[in-house]
Structures are given as C-alpha cells and as structure tokens.
Amino acid sequence: MSTVPDTTTKIRFAGDGTAFDVTGVQWIINPWDELSLTRALQLKEESNGAIEKVTVISVGLKETEPVIRKALAIGADEAIRIDTAPLDAYFVAKQIAGSIKDDGFDIVLCGIDSSDYNGSLVGGMLAEFLGIPSVSSISALNIENGEVSVNREIDGGKEVLSVELPFVAIIQKGVALEPRIPSMRGIMMARKKPLNVKAPVEADSLTEMISFEQLPAKAACKMVEEDNVKELVDLLHSEAKVI
C-alpha cells in the first residue's frame, strides 16, 4: 500500500525541481490500493473463515502511520510498515519481497500504480522477486470453491483467467465499486490492531530523479461567434497553425 498526496493537492516542487514539495500535503491511501484493500476484505468476508487475515504492507517512514492506521480502521487485520523512504519501484518491490517471502500468503493484491509517480512497476517486480506469477490489470477477482478467477480488461473485450495460488494480483478499476469508509468502531479498534515496524532489507534504488517539470499553463481560450466561420478558419490558420 502506498501513501500518496490527496488527489486534490496542488503539486509543487522543492528548490531545484528534483523533489516533490510535501509542505501542507494531505496524505491518503493510494486509491488503487484502497480498492485492492476493499476487495481483499470482501473476499475474506465471503470466504467463511477460509481466508484468515488481511495484512497491509507499506514501505515508508513513521509519518505514513496515520494512513496505515486508516487501512486498519477500514478493516485490515494487521499492518507492516517497512521503516524506510520508498526510493523507487525496484527498491520498494525488494523491500516487500524481503519482508513477506517467508510469510504464508495466498494473494498479494496491489494497485496498478500509485497516483503520485504512476510507475506501474512494483507489482510485476514483486512477483518476479518472489518467483510467483502475476496478473496485471485485474478488473474482477473472485474465489469460488477455492478456485481463483480474474478478469482482465483487454482491447475490445475482457479476458477471464483462472490462477493458481500464490500470485500477485495487480488491481485496477472494477474489482470493487467504491472504497469503504471506516466506521467509528473501526477507528477505535484500529488502535489495538498490530502495526509492526520492520527494518528494511539491503537494496539499491536503480533510478535517479533528474527533474520534475510542470505542464505549461493552459493558454487563454478564444471564443468565435458561431456564424463567423471566416474568422475561425483564419485563426486556425494564422494563430493556431493547425490548418
């Protein structure tokens, strides 16, 4: 699970443009991960006890704990925070793999990307490091009689696959309608649920940020009267230079 800036945050960059300015930013659960968590909890509820627990795992510093606590309030049974800044996708995938490789798990659900850096890399890398399969762009994830099937959106249709456990499920829109809102009871109970902090494993980051650049501001919109076709054509020709 990634901790990301609220989607309405105004994005600014610090000093030399190589880092994201976090001043005053409201942090939330990455929306794709929130959807993954929602589906995981539904699956657990539907499983009549066959699924023992849902664990949230996140790579981040102590400041991310309120967001992790929210995942517990929503209903996860326990959480693991790997105590290091998430440097890049390779580094994060290494951390998660290092942390869970010896734990018993059936499905690792992760969002298709994080809404901040949009790398779409962690899920695939994680499966590779764990030596298990992954399925990307999952829009439905179901378990019936112990058989796991997933839907994938593909060009012009959908693909239905049956998958063997364990595997990494890379989740996109569709697996759950809406993320859950925690209840007051959930918020109170989240305090008592385990949030285990683990030391990071040795890993490199393979990328280096050179610069961030804002999109150029949108140019002013020019309105042309509906019957003034000539002016429109002239503007498209001389100013916009598209014809």
Binding site: P66, I181, S183, M184, R185, I187, M188
Partner: protein
Amino acid sequence: MDFELTEIQQMIRETVRDFAEREIKPVAHDLDEKAEFSEEITKKMGELGLFGMNLPEKYGGQDLDTLSYIIAVEELARIDSSQAATLAAHNSLGIGPLFYFGSEEQKMKYLPPLCTGEALWGFGLTEANAGSDSRGTKTVVKLENGEWIINGSKIFITNGSADISVGSTVQAVSGDHDGKKEFSCVIVEKGTPGFKTVSMHGKMMWRASDTGELYFDDCRVPEENLLGKVGQGSKIMLSTLDNGRLSIAAMGLGLAQGAFELALQYANERKQFGKPIIKFQVNAFKLADMATKIELARTLLYKACWLKDIGKPFAKEAAMSKLYCSEIAREVADEAVQLHGGYGLMKDYEIERFYRDQRLLQIGEGTSEIQRLVISRYIGC
C-alpha cells in the same frame, strides 16, 4: 499547550468528511427542496457509528471523547445542516438526558437501539408560549395510581415526529410549591395512548430534518418512566442544554467552513473586469476575515470540548462557543452570498441553502440573547 488533534480525531474528521461528500452532498439539494427527511442517510450515519459516539460500548456507543463528536457534527454541517441537525439533536438532546439521568434499566432498554440510526428520540422542552422562558411551561404531569398522566403540548421538537422517532423525553410541571413550579422529566414512547406527534412543515431552514409537535391528552406512562428524580426537570434541562450548545456551535462552525469554501472557490472562478474577483483586494479581505473568524470559532469551541473532556466546568465556554459560532456562521454565510453576487440568490447555488440554514443557529437551543444572559451571569454581571 497542544493544539494537535489525536490520530483518532484526525481520522474521524477525514472519515466523516468523506462520508458527507460522498453520501450527503449529492442529495442535499433535493432533500432540502422537497423538505424530505431521509431515513436512508440517518441509517447510514448509524452504520458509520455517529449516534451515541460518546456512550460506553455496553449501551451501543463508541466511547469517543466530546471533541471527536463535535468534529463529526462540524464535518456534516460543512456539507448539510439538516443531517448535522438530525445527528446533533439525537445525540445531545435525545440520547444525552437518557444517558446522564436514566437508571441502569432505562439506559439498557432505550440506548442501544438509539445508537443504530434506525430509531430517533426527541427532547420535549419548548412550548408555544415557553421558549426562552422555559418556566412558562404549561404541560403538566401528575402521578396517579402508579402512572404519570401528561397533558399539554410541545413544539419545534427536532426528531420528534419522524416515522423512525420512537419517543421523547418530556419536561412538564409536576408540582407547585408556593407559586414556584417544580419540573420533572418523563419518558414517553411512541404508540402510548394519548400521545400524538405532528410533523411541522414550511421551514425556512433545516428542511431535510424532522421537526415536530407533540400532543399529550391524558397520556399515561408507567411510574418507572420518570427520568431522574421528581423535581429534577430543570437540572436535566440545563445540563442537556449545556451539552447541546456545543453541538449547535459545531453546526455554526461547520456551516461557516462550508460557506467559506464555497465562496473561496467561486471567487477564484468568477471573472469580472478581466480577472478572477478574488484578485480584488476588497474580496480577498472578505475571505481573510471569514477565515480568521472561523479559526477563532474553532479554537473557542475546541477549548470548551477540551474542558468537558478533562472534567472541568465548561458551561460558560459552551455558551460563548454557541454564541460566537452561530453569529459568525451568519456573518460568513452573508459575505459568501455577497461574493456570489446574483448567483448567490439562486437555488442552483449551494450557498443559498447555507444562507437559510444558518439562521436557526442564533435562535435554536437558546437564542443569542439567552447565551449573552448566561455568559453575563458567569462573569459576575
């Protein structure tokens, strides 16, 4: 000093904000327009755990502190005063007296269902001729053959007459000692013969909340339906209103916050004389003043909650919070309409509803004048 919210309080703010934006905002306009009370939203608020937030778990509550509850009311009022009113009235006036003054049997019987959002409870205090002067109460109650017999009527009772309203706590005159009225509170359940409720329509504000009249015509309830002791009516009322003031203050604060945000957004989008109107200092200063008032209101209200949570007297600060938050709600909503210009007068714009909704806050649960009276007594006038 520490002004930092706890992690739980912060999470409650985010959660209730999320809920209000997702579940209430899309329907607030229509419910207001049709003056329709929503059982569905009430039930959802119950599922979220907003009813009985301050109650111990054994009564179905969440065992949260006062400030957590006040933040929840504030966040609802930021989006829709009607839903905030349903919540605030039910918790402070419906559940409150039963919890603080009920016997263990009464609490176990009444409170758990009232924490679910599937049942509401009213507090019958105001009468047609007894508003600020509650000693003018005419409704009478007397004990006869092991039953309390109630006669009279109540008016403006929030949550008193919805289909899911299951009863009310009623204050009535139980005796007269040398011209001095004695008050007692009794519990009256829906369906009791002689007890009738009528919904009130034609409200300017809080149109999607339930407001009712209660009528008692030789209404008989068992002796054990007395809440607290005989003659404790005034004490129950005063203590209930002290708590209620905090939640009305929270409604003022939340409404002001919502109105401010609407104005800020509109002033950024609306262009006149070639630039967004927010770029004109006359408008920017309005917004600066609004933000300052909101900050002051929040600080005062949260301090009153903090006093209550640490067990110190808070009645003076509660009255000050109710007075200040409700008055700045009016000022902020008024300036927010001004920033909207002509569009602010149209129902298509949310600010119009905020402008109407704020007007109750200086009247309900003790007018601004009564708050000043309370405060003036505390400061030795």
